[in-house]
Symmetry: C2
Subunit: 547 residues, 2 copies
């Protein structure tokens, strides 16, 4: 049995290894030592990328499209630059599951040819390299979703989202790693192993879109695609110093996303964009998808077009310092304080957010993740005989040990809807437009320690659109020491204590970026992205750079 | 035990009987004999209503609002006229579960006072009497949903839909009957008994919104509210010669609709308007509700405002003559032929609709009605000890005998979504805008024989907006004889045979109205109502009358 699952897993590794463009691999002796934590500066030092390629891979998708549109860049050189960077990233972070080098370059050349012939771009994402989480099906390629049992299952169609992005001009060059079961806020499986965090390789890149987190953090693509049922876009974005957007459910098409519990809709997973450089790129992605009216094909989606939104001049931002369950670590609180100062100085109305029954919310959502007691996940593990990873056991332990009856599950649906309606009514009655909060109790989790989900999962339950962006604050063990007050802190319960104790040694988090989360009102996806962009510009005094 | 459920049931009858405004009851000897089938002409003959009241109760909601707006009618006289007609209707048809006479008149007086003071109407439904299916909660009133077990359960809040309608000026004057379990296309329960069809009292009024069907057919209100998970708005509208609209799901708010399987969302029940006089009134209702943006309160709803729609000049209407499973009776086919002739003569493009796997669709939806094998319904019957009505047993027999596992139910969710996407793609690829079809194999079911659901249930599964309107054709046993070809018809299977044999004696259906059904494309609620209005005007050469 053991031999069998290992040989199956090897097939997955073979697909990956055979796909790596060998011409861009660096010899091991030119790579930084394994003990080197941060590798974000290595592209420049590696000698693999030209100065022009370094500049290209430092650009946002929006800027790249502009420059391809005025002929200053070709799609081919953009693609080659990101492919080289992705190969390097993979050597350092183990984030890929498959490269699609030749196809991506061939398609980029077609785009260039189209542009030469017509003077026009193929679409709003013309020539933009996009990395894609592996469980999003690609035609004639395997799709394993992190399960050994599915390692050689080939899909016959592109996921609908990929079809739309492709029509908009995007090109997929690399598929990325995910954890076994998709239910870790971390990224390891028995096929392609564990992905590392580019800012500090002893930290998790987050998950489940952890390969995407690393891809964004290392700038292997300006845009990536993740999926999120409890934080799986937002945590990796935060952990890796990047951007991520969890749209409202029933907005982006999910046809062709392969999951263990297909048809489960108690809590709807969503698919959404991640970006290495800017919130503007998240909006670019959303607009390109929704202007194609995907609800005419995937008819479960809401028929709601993407509207332009400007940030409200007089918006009210409420800061949730603590969710009432788990106290955030000092660097996270520092990032919120910093954000508050900047926002207040810029004249934004800032108030405190008193969380509403987050513990209750967690009890509801954790039960709804596994009404079947995780039978589908367990079946898939049993099918190959692969061992469960520790965080798979952890995630499954959230569920009940026996399946719920349908009426028990229905009672939870009602609780979910009541809680969502109540939360929404509260946001309205308090006159709050956006809630700014931690994404996670820590800046990032130490590898294997991603245990607390509810700073993100709560918005899956309430189904609020939410954006993660880097606060500009990174953990500095000399600055982010435990204060007198911190030392006196008496945790509220075991969970709070478990998370709080993780910070006893700040050195463990050195160099981690604190990503903050902005949630908007129900259905206000466009407004939330617009507000997040304005908030980030204020908090980071950010200006856009051009080539 | 028997005594106990009967005394409980008596409580429900007491609520009804105590609520009837006795001043308008006719002595039994002035009522038509029980053997008289049609009672639609009786209001004029009864002597209870004045000529003016007869005119008022013959008007559409749209016309009534206009006349109240220019001061020609008062809300009070409108309310009194419909209350009188409703009391008469109840004596003849047993359609009510509770009258709210004093409250309704008091509220009408408030509206009149408001109008006198301001010269303005309260809202777009100013003073419109609306009858309401009983399971739609009303504050401080019982809500039994047809179950003896719930006969004295008082609710503390109005259903959200009622709150919105009330804000728009509507007034609720009578609550209406429904079958035990809500899952009959008929209307009988162990509390308030069986409702009759005003066109022919040996026929069923349809169901489950059968009290509403009778209310509309007898014009006890210009507008009513039904709910529909398999045809429960559309069948009673068709059977009673009235109008009904099944909106897309997640459009109208369902908070406060009391059902046995609360939280079940495998197939979503919807709530929608019925009307006695016109499609225009259905649109009036929808607009009044949706312009209040109910998704800001019930956050599961789609945030889609109600748009004005004009019928497309060049629309293509496809006629589904037969669903491939059960052959419609001759009068239904005659109504479709008549409609086709008129449409073609008016220059509308008419094609035939080849149904797409309706038997498969039925297998999916019937399994999804009861993933729990009907445990909640059975529990409620057991709770009081009341016996199951024959059609309750019938409906429960559609489900599986054992609960589905969650993964089995999820596989059916996928099948549902795939079928819906495929059906929608087919409508698009065939270039069809609307599908005109029977509502039911017969013009109406003989009492107790409402057994075949799938002319309506199929659109619940595909989730298409659908409108029922009277074709203008009523069953004439002299005209609607079985043709030579009909006599030779060899039914496809037992179900087809069962339904076909019901027409061996056409006399049974004498005077029944044939209601036709128009389904529109996914999410095109506004366009479907607009098209249905145009189609009805063409088919019936209809002109609107004013007071």
């Amino acid at each position: 049995m053991t031999r069998n699952w290992e040989s199956q897993a090897q097939k997955g590794r073979d697909i990956l290894n055979n796909s790596i463009p060998k011409q861009w691999l660096l010899p091991v002796d030119r790579l930084p030592p394994v003990s080197q934590k941060s590798v974000v500066d290595f592209p420049r030092k590696s000698g693999l990328l030209s100065e022009r390629e370094l500049i290209i891979t430092d650009m946002s998708a929006t800027a790249l499209v502009t420059e391809m549109g005025n002929g200053k860049l070709s799609a081919e050189e953009v693609m080659v630059a990101f492919l080289k960077r992705a190969v390097l990233g993979h050597q350092l972070l183990n984030f890929a599951t498959e490269f699609m080098t030749d196809e991506a370059i061939a398609r980029a050349k077609e785009h260039d040819e189209y542009y030469r012939r017509t003077g026009k771009l193929v679409g709003p994402l013309h020539g933009i390299p996009i990395s894609v989480k592996e469980h999003i099906s690609m035609k004639n390629r395997t799709c394993n979703t992190g399960y050994v049992a599915w390692v050689d299952k080939v899909t016959t169609e592109d996921a609908l989202l990929l079809q739309l992005l492709s029509k908009a001009g995007a090109i997929f060059h690399v598929r990325t790693n995910q954890p076994q079961s998709l239910m870790h806020l971390c990224c390891s499986n028995n096929i392609t192993g564990t992905t590392l965090n580019p800012l500090n390789r002893t930290l998790s890149p987050g998950g489940s879109s952890g390969g995407e987190g690393a891809s964004m953090g290392f700038r292997c693509a300006p845009l990536g695609i993740g999926s999120d049922i409890g934080g799986s876009i937002r945590c990796p974005a935060a952990f890796c110093g990047a951007y991520g957007f969890r749209p409202s459910s029933l907005r982006n098409p999910v046809t062709g996303l392969k999951v263990a519990a297909s048809g489960q809709e108690t809590i709807r997973g969503v698919v959404g964009p991640m970006a290495s450089r800017s919130i503007e790129d998240l909006e670019l992605f959303q607009r390109a998808v929704l202007e194609q009216e995907p609800w005419d094909i995937e008819t479960s989606l809401m028929p709601v077009t993407w509207k332009s939104a400007d940030p409200k001049r007089d918006m009210t931002v409420a800061i949730m310092w603590d969710d009432g369950c788990v106290r955030p670590h000092p660097p996270v609180t520092r990032a919120l304080r910093h954000a508050k100062e900047k926002l207040v100085a810029a004249g934004v109305k800032v108030v405190d957010w008193k969380p509403y029954k987050h513990q209750h919310g967690w009890e509801v959502i954790r039960a709804l993740y596994y009404p079947d007691a995780g039978s589908k996940q367990r079946e898939l593990l049993a099918e190959s005989g692969e061992p469960a990873r520790p965080l798979t056991d952890w995630a499954l332990s959230y569920g009940q040990s026996m399946p719920l009856s349908h009426p028990e599950a229905w009672a939870l649906h009602d609780q979910r809807d009541i809680y969502r309606d109540e939360y929404h009514a509260l946001i309205n009655s308090r006159g709050v437009d956006f809630i700014l909060s931690p994404t996670y109790p820590a800046a990032a989790a130490v590898m294997g320690e991603s245990q607390y989900w509810n700073y993100t999962a709560i918005w899956n339950l309430v189904d609020l659109p939410s954006v993660v962006f880097p606060s500009g604050i990174t953990v500095d063990p000399k600055v982010d020491v435990l204060s007198e007050e911190d030392r006196k802190y008496v945790p509220r319960d075991e969970v709070d204590e478990r998370e709080w104790r993780k910070y006893q040694d700040p050195e463990r988090y050195e160099g981690a970026s604190v990503g903050l989360q902005i949630a908007g009102r129900r259905f206000k996806d466009e407004e939330t992205l617009a507000a997040a962009k304005a908030v980030e510009e204020i908090v980071r005094e950010k200006r856009h750079s051009k080539i």
